[in-house]
């Protein structure tokens, strides 16, 4: 019995040492992947937002088309949390070899200014492609007394901080949009945060909030069914999908400086990724986005297909960041100056 026990113990110690030795000489076996025959293995696509949201749907649909064009399987994965900062950090931490891509929305543009994370599209990533942009609209329940944006503004002026404005958290669409309204019209809302477009729509349907700002894509179905009214679309032109809704510039021309502005979806790689690889990926996704069925899906979702690459894409991201960051700063939503972060002001 005793002999058996020691023998067993010896075995355990041996294996423990074995594991430790292995741990000690953990080799970096990631042999430099050559750029010419990229891709050699599956590509991981990290989606910043959860299942069923616009970013998720767009990413997965595009991935299924792009697999053939790129010549590798795209393994898609949702990594949610901290308005996408978790996924952004994760992709940043992976090797800059183009095998891990970030499928993200506009949020990382505001991480620094809102002190959510140190990561940032402009400084830490290179855009592979900007897929599309959507627009935001100010919506109320169909039963609401507000028939026009002027009604809403007049009421808000008389009763500051009385209207319940549903938001989707720091840096979300309603947050930035209400900063925009405060800057130009000097009206205050009582913000109540929800977890995204879906829960916001539910809250508005149940009359839990008075007003919110939704992506046109998220609101469209409810407008068609007569559940919601859209008072204005945050754009300098009316949209094809909802031609009757006035653009906000028609009511308040001073908003012209900020627009066009809205949420976008794009694919990003670590900034140190070799240029050839980014180019290859870019070409692959370019071909995929020209797929007719895919553009049709995008339009169904209320998203404007953009298919931007290279310099155009960088310029687009920069413009979006400047608008949002300066708007929040001027509205007093943050103490961090965009200037210090090197974000250029919007050219007026």
């Amino acid at each position: 019995m005793n002999k058996y026990f020691t023998k067993r113990r010896f075995l355990i110690y041996c294996t423990a040492i074995f594991f430790f030795i292995l741990a000690a000489c953990s080799s970096n076996d990631s042999s430099g992947a050559s750029e010419d025959n990229f891709p050699e293995k599956d590509i991981n696509g990290i989606i910043q937002w959860g299942e069923g949201g616009a970013t998720d749907i767009i990413s997965r649909t595009l991935a299924s088309v792009a697999e053939d064009e790129i010549g590798a399987s795209l393994v898609m994965q949702n990594r949610t949390g901290a308005t996408g900062a978790i996924a952004t950090q994760y992709v940043y931490d992976q090797a800059a070899d183009g095998y891990t891509l970030l499928f993200g929305a506009e949020n990382p543009n505001l991480y620094q200014i809102l002190d959510i994370s140190e990561r940032d599209y402009m400084n830490d990533f290179v855009p592979v492609t900007i897929i599309g942009q959507s627009y935001a609209g100010i919506v109320v329940n169909a039963d609401s007394d507000f028939e026009t944006l002027e009604d809403l503004v007049a009421y808000a002026e008389e009763n500051p901080s009385n209207l319940l404005m549903g938001t989707s958290g720091e840096g979300g669409l309603p947050h930035v949009a209400s900063a925009m309204l405060r800057n130009e019209l000097n009206i205050e809302f009582n913000p109540i945060p929800y977890d995204g477009d879906g829960p916001l729509a539910v809250a508005l349907l149940g009359n839990e909030i008075d007003v919110t700002v939704l992506a046109v894509s998220a609101a469209q179905e409810y407008i068609d069914s007569g559940d919601f009214k859209m008072l204005a679309v945050l754009n300098n032109d009316s949209l094809d999908s909802i031609p009757d809704v006035q653009p906000i510039t028609e009511i308040y021309p001073q908003f012209e400086t900020y627009l066009p502005w809205g949420p976008f979806q794009g694919i990003f790689a670590h900034k140190d990724t070799p240029e050839e690889i980014v180019q290859k990926l870019s070409d692959g996704f370019d071909a995929a986005q020209n797929n007719e069925a895919f553009t049709e899906r995008l339009t169904d979702l209320g998203v404007d297909p953009l298919n931007l690459h290279g310099e155009d894409a960088i310029e687009f991201v920069q413009a979006n960041q400047s608008t949002s960051a300066w708007m929040l700063y001027e509205a007093g939503e943050t103490d961090i100056s965009p200037e210090e972060l090197g974000i250029p002001p919007v050219e007026k």
């Binding site: 067993r8 075995l11 355990i12 294996t15 423990a16 594991f19 430790f20 292995l22 741990a23 953990s26 599956d42 991981n44 399987s73 393994v75």
Partner: protein, 168 residues
């Protein structure tokens, strides 16, 4: 010493509560006195946790007193004891040998987790299973090897092939 040991669970509860409470003080963007803020509710909960800690200390003291003074148990106390007993039908008595046995197995699991970053997943898992079964004893070599290899194949098929889960 005896008293301290009897108070250990309650004290641990109070300490855990205090650690969490201290964290609620340093929360950013939250005001402790605004019910809608991020730290009001957590602070409230930590206070409740600390109170439960105090209650447990008192209960344990009462129990100890009852034990030491060997007082005749009144009907009321009988009821008390019953309630006390319901929480663990068997009193959990463990020897040091058992603790060591469990602790070593836990360390073995940690080593396994460390090893999957280095070894191929299937090799690490197979090794872990074989070693585990040797350690826990009572399994013949033949079953050991068969079960280990068989389960690794199943895990590989389900997780890697079907669910595309890539191990580091």
């Amino acid at each position: 010493m005896q008293t301290l040991k009897a108070m250990a669970p309650g004290l641990t509860m109070i300490i855990v509560g205090l650690v969490f409470l201290s964290q609620t003080f340093v929360m950013e963007r939250a005001s402790l006195f605004d019910p809608a803020g991020g730290s009001f509710l957590p602070a409230l909960i930590t206070i409740v946790m600390i109170i439960t800690g105090v209650i447990v200390i008192i209960q344990d003291q009462v129990k100890k007193k009852a034990k030491t003074s060997m007082m005749e148990t009144t009907a009321e106390e009988n009821l008390e004891n019953e309630a006390q007993h319901a929480d663990g039908a068997e009193d959990i008595q463990m020897t040091w040998k058992q603790y060591a046995f469990i602790f070593i197995y836990f360390v073995l699991t940690i080593l396994y987790v460390l090893s999957i970053s280095i070894l191929p997943f299937s090799v690490a898992t197979c090794l872990f299973l074989i070693i585990s079964m040797i350690y826990l004893r009572g399994v013949s070599w033949k079953t050991n090897i068969l079960v280990s290899i068989g389960s690794v194949i199943v895990f590989y098929l389900v997780f890697t092939r079907l669910f595309h889960i890539i191990f580091p």
